[in-house]
Symmetry: C2
Subunit: 192 residues, 2 copies
């Protein structure tokens, strides 16, 4: 009796597929970037070989597209989780919350990847614009739900805050956080 399966539990291998591959791949991409990622490191992060990635995705471009789609989905889910308790009562408060949310260390990899997606989108890389569009749409929908209840124009307000927020985040990442802060002080949000 040669002990055919000594420890079946810990080493049960779920069949490798796009679905099982994408999460570890996304982790790697969030850490090391999307453009610079190459097949062999990606494969190692997912516990496989480049050969297998190509088997399951066909070629690198489709891999990247799938990753972008998947990450956009994860981002949406993360947003849905992050609904703060209690509605803010003013637009200013609402914006402050989002900015605070976006500056959490846990969000940093997302932020870094986000600007890479924007850049790829600007350059016209395949799949980037779609992912960016989707992520912004989700962000916008989430923001609308977060608007103050008595806001006279929640839809427009959300778009306004989104614009302001993205501008602020960008300025923050290039070392002009202070500029952004001072800018917000000169908006109608601070001096109604």
């Amino acid at each position: 009796m040669p002990m055919p399966m000594p420890m079946p539990m810990p080493t049960t291998k779920p069949p490798m597929s796009r679905a099982t591959l994408l999460p570890p791949l996304a982790v790697h991409v969030l850490e090391h970037g999307l453009g610079g990622a190459s097949l062999r490191p990606l494969a190692k992060a997912a516990g496989t070989s480049d050969r297998m990635l190509l088997y399951h995705f066909g070629n690198k471009e489709t891999l990247v597209r799938a990753l972008l789609e998947y990450i956009a989905g994860v981002y949406s889910a993360a947003l849905d989780m992050a609904v703060g308790e209690g509605r803010p009562t003013t637009r200013q408060q609402c914006l402050a919350r989002i900015l605070e949310q976006g500056r959490k260390p846990a969000m940093r990899p997302f932020m870094v990847l986000w600007w890479e997606i924007v850049a790829g989108s600007a350059r016209g890389l395949s799949g980037y614009k779609e992912a960016a569009e989707e992520m912004i749409a989700r962000q916008l929908a989430w923001l609308e739900k977060q608007m103050p209840e008595d806001d006279p124009d929640p839809a427009g307000g959300a778009r306004y805050l989104l614009t302001l927020m993205e501008g602020s985040l960008m300025l923050g990442t290039v070392g002009h956080a202070r500029t952004a802060r001072e800018g917000l002080l000169a908006s109608d949000l601070s001096a109604p």
Copy 2:
């Protein structure tokens, strides 16, 4: 008399140096991107060999840093050129002008490169953050000069408009120009 310099004018070769190399290199980078650019294509764009680029710059990283600095300078100069005639009379008008300026087709390569610089800045690539910081500072200074004369707070206002403008431009590049437009309609700029 062997005619020491038969046709000095048309074929005078200015000595190759960083200064003479950078302009054609910048042109290539504006067209093809910074991250993906490699030595041999860059060299061809400047009419030399990769060997020479390394001779004059030492290694690729210093080349890229020099390019970023140079491009930031060019951008500043372009801004100084682009001072519209007559001051705008309202912040809204001021923002409209800038956005119009930024959407000119001639500015597109700059825009595309800009988001790449932001992305590199977010990822911490060497030289990117400095360049981005410089470019934003220039933009801000330029904007302050463009503010309405009777503005109660030109410094703050410029920072506010800068934030709004960058947010709008970003949304535009990812296919949400409409979202940005509607956002601006819900700001104090449109409904004072």
